[in-house]
C-alpha cells in the first residue's frame, strides 16, 4: 500500500471548507432524516454564499434514513453527480474524502458533503450474517457493541493503570461542553459521581458513559483552490484526510477471537498518516474531535491518535487540559456523548465543530487564542478509522 508522505500541493490543488451547516442533534419525532439533511445542506450553502446549482459534485451518507441522492428531489434537479457512501461511523469522513478526491481529480471546483441519520431508540440492531458471522454468535448474546467497548476499556484500564474515575471525567467534560452548545442533545451537566453512580451497563462503563443512537444532520461545502478564497473570508484548509481499515491484530467489535497482542488499531494508522501528510505533529493540535461512543473509547483514542501517551489520560483530564480552555481541547461540542450518534451525520458534526472553532465562531464554547490546527477522528465497525487535519 502507498503510504502517505508530507504533501506539498500548489494552492490550486488544495481543498477548503467554505461553508458548513447542521441540524440540531437529539430526538424530534416531527422531522425526518431527509428533512434534517435538507436543512443542513441549505445552511451550508447559505454559509458559503452559493446555490445548490453551483455544486458540481456531491456525496452523502446515511445508515438507515434513506438514499442520500434522493435529496436532489428536495434541493433541486440540477443533474449533479451524487454518490452515496456508507462506512459506518466513518461515513462522514468518507463523504468528505469522496468530494475532496473529486475536486482534486478535476471533476468540479465546488462540492458538497452531507450526512444524516435518525435512529430508533435503544441499541443498534445487528445481523450476524452481515458481518460474516454465524447466527450462534448473536443468539448466544455476544454480539453487542456495548460489550465490545466495555471489554476493550476494561483491558485498557488494566494494562495502562487508568482508574474508572477517568471514564467519569470524560463524560463529565462532554456534558459540560454539551450544556453550552445550542445543537447538542444532552445539555445538562453531570458530576463525575452522578456518572459513576448511573446504572451499570457493562462494567467498567455505566449508562452515562455511553452515547445513544439519535438523530441529526450536517453538511459541508468544499471548494478547490482559489475558488475557496473568492467565496469565503476564512476558508479552512483540509490539510489531510486519511481513512484506514484495520490491520491484522486490531481489536474490533464482533470478534469471536483475537490474536495474542499487541493489538494495533486503525486509528493509529489513520492518525499517523494525516499528521505525516500535513507535516504537523499531534502537539500542534489546538482543537480535537475524538470518537466517543463511550468514555472508554475517547480515553483510548486520545493516546492512539498521539494526542497523549498511553496511561497519561487521567492526569490530562484531571488538569483540565482537554477542556475548551485547556492545552488540547477535546470534543468542544460535547461529542457523541452529548450529541448522540446519528451514524451518517456524526463525522460531519466533527468537521462542523472544528471548522467553526478554527474560524472563531464556535456555536458553543469557543477555544480561546485563535486555534490554527484542528483534528478529527472517527472509528467504527468493522475496523475502520478516519482522521483529518484542518488548518487556517
Amino acid at each position: 500500500m502507498t503510504e502517505g508522505r508530507p504533501t506539498t500541493r500548489a494552492r490550486s490543488d488544495e481543498v477548503y471548507v467554505v461553508g458548513c451547516g447542521m441540524h440540531p442533534f437529539g430526538r424530534d419525532d416531527t422531522v425526518t432524516g431527509m428533512a434534517m439533511a435538507e436543512r443542513a445542506v441549505r445552511e451550508a450553502l447559505a454559509d458559503a454564499g452559493v446555490g445548490w446549482e453551483d455544486i458540481g459534485y456531491a456525496a452523502g451518507g446515511s445508515d438507515v434514513s434513506g438514499k442520500p441522492d434522493t435529496l436532489v428531489g428536495r434541493l433541486g434537479l440540477t443533474g449533479v453527480p451524487f454518490v452515496n457512501v456508507q462506512n459506518g461511523c466513518a461515513t462522514g469522513a468518507s463523504t468528505v474524502l469522496a468530494v475532496a478526491n473529486a475536486l482534486r481529480a478535476g471533476e468540479a471546483s465546488l462540492g458538497l458533503a452531507v450526512g444524516f441519520d435518525k435512529h430508533e431508540r435503544g441499541a443498534f440492531n445487528v445481523s450476524a450474517a452481515r458481518y460474516g458471522l454465524g447466527d450462534w454468535y448473536a443468539e448466544s448474546g455476544m454480539m453487542l457493541t456495548t460489550q465490545f467497548f466495555a471489554l476493550k476499556t476494561q483491558r485498557y484500564l488494566h494494562e495502562h493503570g487508568v482508574s474508572e474515575r477517568a471514564l467519569a471525567m470524560v463524560a463529565a467534560r462532554a456534558f459540560r461542553n454539551g450544556a453550552q452548545h445550542p445543537m447538542a442533545w444532552r445539555r445538562k451537566p453531570l458530576t463525575e459521581q452522578e456518572i459513576l453512580d448511573s446504572p451499570e451497563v457493562s462494567p467498567p462503563l455505566t449508562q452515562y458513559m455511553f452515547c445513544s443512537p439519535g438523530q441529526g444532520a450536517a453538511a459541508l461545502v468544499l471548494a478547490l483552490g482559489n475558488r475557496a478564497f473568492d467565496l469565503c473570508e476564512r476558508p479552512v484548509r483540509l490539510a489531510s484526510l486519511a481513512l484506514r481499515t484495520r490491520r491484522f491484530g486490531s481489536f474490533e467489535v464482533f470478534s469471536p477471537w483475537l490474536p495474542p497482542g499487541p493489538h494495533r488499531s486503525p486509528s493509529v494508522d489513520a492518525a499517523e498518516a494525516v499528521f505525516r501528510r500535513a507535516d504537523l505533529r499531534p502537539a500542534d493540535v489546538r482543537v480535537a474531535q475524538l470518537q466517543d461512543t463511550d468514555s472508554g473509547s475517547e480515553l483510548i483514542h486520545l493516546a492512539e491518535t498521539g494526542l497523549c501517551d498511553h496511561g497519561e489520560q487521567e492526569e490530562l483530564l484531571a488538569a483540565g487540559d482537554t477542556d475548551a480552555t485547556g492545552r488540547i481541547p477535546v470534543n468542544t461540542d460535547g461529542g457523541c456523548l452529548a450529541g448522540g450518534e446519528p451514524v451518517g451525520a456524526s463525522g460531519l458534526r466533527q468537521f462542523h465543530e472544528v471548522v467553526r472553532q478554527l474560524q472563531g465562531r464556535a456555536p458553543g464554547a469557543q477555544v480561546p487564542g485563535a486555534p490554527r490546527v484542528g483534528f478529527t477522528h472517527v472509528y467504527g465497525a468493522p475496523g475502520i478509522s478516519a482522521c483529518a487535519v484542518l488548518t487556517v
Partner: protein
C-alpha cells in the same frame, strides 16, 4: 430432554468437548471459529486445530440489560451474564464466562465448559461454550 450444540462446527469431541478453530500452515495464526483462508497471510493453508481447554481471563464485562433479538434468552428468561476474552496462549477466544462477579478478575484461570444458551421451539436444549473458574490451573498445562 434432547440437547444440541449451538453450532456443530465450533466443537470437536464430546467428553471432553473441545473448541476447534483453524491454524495457518504459513504464519501459524490460530483463528476461531475455523475459516478457509488466513486473515494474516496469503500463503498458508488452514487446517482444523483443536484449542486448549485452559486459559486466563484476558478481559471481562457484564451484560446487564437484555439484548435485542437475534439474541435468544434462556428458558427462565434473561439474567445478566458475563462475557469476556480468554487467553488460550495462541489465541484469545470470546466466550460466556460462568464466573461469579466477586471472583472475576483479569488473569483468573478458567477452563472450558458448556452451558445452556436457550431452547429451540421443540424443547431441545441448545448448548454453547463457556469458561468457568479452573480449580486446578497448573494441572495438564
Amino acid at each position: 430432554m434432547t440437547t444440541r450444540l449451538v453450532a456443530e462446527d465450533l466443537f470437536e469431541g464430546v467428553d471432553p468437548m473441545r473448541l476447534v478453530g483453524a491454524r495457518c500452515s504459513g504464519c501459524h495464526t490460530v483463528v476461531f471459529p475455523r475459516q478457509d483462508s488466513c486473515p494474516r497471510c496469503a500463503d498458508g493453508a488452514m487446517s482444523a486445530h483443536v484449542l486448549p481447554v485452559r486459559g486466563l481471563v484476558w478481559s471481562w464485562t457484564l451484560q446487564a440489560f437484555p439484548p435485542k433479538p437475534p439474541y435468544r434468552p434462556p428458558a427462565g428468561g434473561f439474567q445478566p451474564y458475563h462475557v469476556g476474552y480468554v487467553d488460550l496462549g495462541e489465541v484469545l477466544v470470546e466466550a460466556r464466562l460462568e464466573v461469579p462477579r466477586r471472583e472475576m478478575r483479569i488473569g483468573l484461570p478458567v477452563r472450558l465448559t458448556t452451558m445452556p444458551a436457550y431452547h429451540d421451539e421443540d424443547g431441545t436444549e441448545v448448548l454453547t461454550f463457556a469458561f468457568r473458574p479452573d480449580p486446578s490451573p497448573e494441572e495438564d498445562r
